[in-house]
């Protein structure tokens, strides 16, 4: 299974068409492959190898493009902004969300702003992906989607989605219910009830019976005779030769056993003796040599598995459009105006054309009339969408050369 960013995403296979890994990469070789792949995506590809027709016209060292909003000297070509589906847009660090507003607390494990009902989402491509039919009809453009589709030199029509823009703007509504408070007073009259109770006479005669029960003895008491007699003191003169010579006359600590003290074995002594015997077995176990190496060299395991070869095949006309959407404010109340800016750049190495930027506004965003502006010559139209809002559409007239970019702006009123 390839990592997520290595898998081809929908139809946009222009940047990398195929990555062939002959062998499974080992853990040490995978970062190298990632570095090579990422570097191949971020560095501009040489144009002379892809489009030899323009070799004569294009200079070898192109001037650095001056694009609005980008500091001079900062390369624009190849600075790819990864655009992911909406459910993946909330990964921190992956997509630079310009105005990311997060609450003070959110349940662990959730990504992105929370709770969702307090934020307005705009941008990205949620639910089913946007597709462009051969008749140039856009399908799958849902509410809150912002995409752009364009044509490449080899006749393909590609779709790029923008990033997600979050706007904290909770709107409160209310549901009313009016209930008549009915005052109903009633009195529970005591019901007259007569229930005569008869006094019943119950006579019970018990016959005295005689019962004889023979009880067997459950115990037996017997006088036990003394069967063991031990005398500690002999009659007559006490013996002074009870202990051997030079023997310590006091018991040691470990000798605190009844069988040692007075020769009478008790139950506790058995356990103590068994414990000490077990200890003695353990303590006296012979520890032998576990491993004997007899002229045998130790086997050394080395992890030298790695990828043997990586082939990266690039298609000609590596065209790609980057589209980024930002809002002028991270939070807005109903009635406020919010400006949106959509930035699009040709980050590929081939010209693209027929660029169409689509933005389907959410229900609570009302497009301010005559507020759409474009830095390039474009045809702007609006249409009603399913959320009773508008679907904004910019058709960029001119093709976009590599490194070219543009801006569109519009203003919305938060409902």
């Amino acid at each position: 299974m390839l990592p997520s960013f290595l898998r081809p995403r929908r139809r946009n296979l222009s940047h990398i068409s195929a990555i062939v890994l002959l062998t499974l990469p080992a853990c040490q070789a995978m970062p190298k492959a990632m570095v090579e792949l990422v570097s191949s995506r971020t560095q501009p590809a040489p144009e002379n190898a892809q489009n030899p027709a323009n070799n004569a016209a294009l200079p070898q060292a192109r001037p650095m493009p001056q694009v609005l909003g980008v500091p001079s000297g900062k390369p624009v070509v190849g600075e790819s902004l990864p655009v992911l589906p909406r459910e993946q847009c909330d990964t921190y660090g992956a997509v630079p969300i310009p105005y990311f507003a997060a609450g003070p607390w959110q349940p662990p494990g959730l990504k992105g702003p929370w709770p969702y009902d307090e934020f307005l989402h705009d941008g990205g491509d949620a639910y089913e992906p946007v597709m462009v039919s051969p008749e140039w009809r856009v399908e799958g453009l849902n509410v809150e989607d912002t995409v752009a589709h364009y044509d490449t030199l080899d006749g393909r029509t590609l779709v790029e989605a923008s990033n997600c823009t979050y706007l904290y703007s909770p709107r409160f509504s209310s549901v009313r219910s009016v209930v008549h408070v009915v005052s109903n007073e009633y009195i529970d009259n005591p019901v007259k009830a007569s229930k005569p109770v008869r006094i019943g006479r119950l006579e019970e005669r018990a016959v005295v019976g005689t019962k004889t029960e023979q009880l067997q003895p459950i115990g037996q008491t017997a006088n036990l005779k003394l069967n063991v007699f031990r005398r500690d003191q002999r009659d007559g003169v006490a013996s002074t030769a009870l202990l051997p010579h030079n023997f310590q006359q006091t018991l040691l600590a470990y000798e605190n056993l009844s069988v040692i003290r007075n020769g009478a074995m008790q139950g506790a002594d058995k356990a103590r003796l068994a414990e000490r015997a077990e200890n003695a077995i353990v303590w006296t176990k012979d520890e032998g040599v576990k491993v004997a190496i007899e002229k045998q060299a130790a086997v050394v395991s080395t992890g030298d598995r790695r990828a043997q070869a990586i082939y990266i095949v690039k298609e000609p006309f590596n065209a790609r459009l980057r589209i980024c959407k930002i809002a002028s404010t991270p939070a807005a109340q109903p009635g406020d105006f919010v400006d949106f800016t959509i930035r699009y750049d040709n980050v590929g190495d081939a010209p693209i054309g027929n660029i169409v930027i689509l933005d389907s506004l959410t229900t609570r965003l009302e497009y301010a009339a005559d507020s759409a502006k474009s830095s390039r010559k474009a045809v702007f139209t609006v249409a009603q969408n399913a959320a009773e809002s508008l679907e904004l559409r910019w058709e960029i007239d001119e093709p976009l050369q590599p490194g070219d970019g543009g801006l569109v702006r519009f203003r919305c009123k938060v409902r």
């Binding site: 307005l120 219910s177 609570r364």
Partner: protein
Amino acid sequence: MRSGKYMRSVRFQQAWAPAIVLLFAHFAAAQQPLAHYRYQAQQPTGAVGSQRLQQGGPVHGYFQPVELSAPKGVVIALADQGHWTDGVEGNVHAGMLLGKPYRVQLLNLPEECVGRECYPTIEIVDRTYAPQGMERRFPIPIVFNIEDLRLATEGLLVTRVVYIEDPQQAIPGAQEPGEQLWHDAGPTANPLEVADRLGRPVAIVRLGARMPDERQGPDWQFLYGSPPWVRFTPPQAVQFAPVPQAAPLKSVRAPGAADRPITQR
């Protein structure tokens, strides 16, 4: 000794039994309604909020910013330590605890109302999670309109459940500042359930004709123990700098590169 066929059957049943149970559980869950609120909005004040506190989350001890607004001329006062505070004519910004019932005093009602005062209750049942520093800018609006006050003073019980709209199900209509979109759920419907289907209920407002004791004033039970609240200053309106007009981009087209037709349509 079991036969092999019997053992295979047993293993098959052991393997598929959990899947079948999960499948039926899925169907059972799918048949449940979207919202199954067990509570009624007409429950005693504080019942719903106390249940919300038991569900956990950062709701204990949080003073939810609330903005009370009434028709022009109406004086709004809150209870503090068993006594009414000085009334304020206009919007009142306060922080209220979740699950605690608050009694509000509305004086100097319009002429359409029967009587000159009303004592609605406010119960915060959920909170908002505004970004840091914007909590007071987005309070829960509690709007007392003239119609509700008139119905309440006539002896009716008006229950209004304030909820946060689900953006996916938001009403397309515009909402101006100081206004609030609302609709009537009807006398037989549970407004709390209706609000839960359309969004997330955050507050319950009840307006009725209950009045405090004329001679002894509001007692402790009438004020629900006078729970603590915090008075907030009205937030200042945030002014955003206008966005500069888009300037035309400089041409970065390579010299000599002719515009090639991309796709002829």
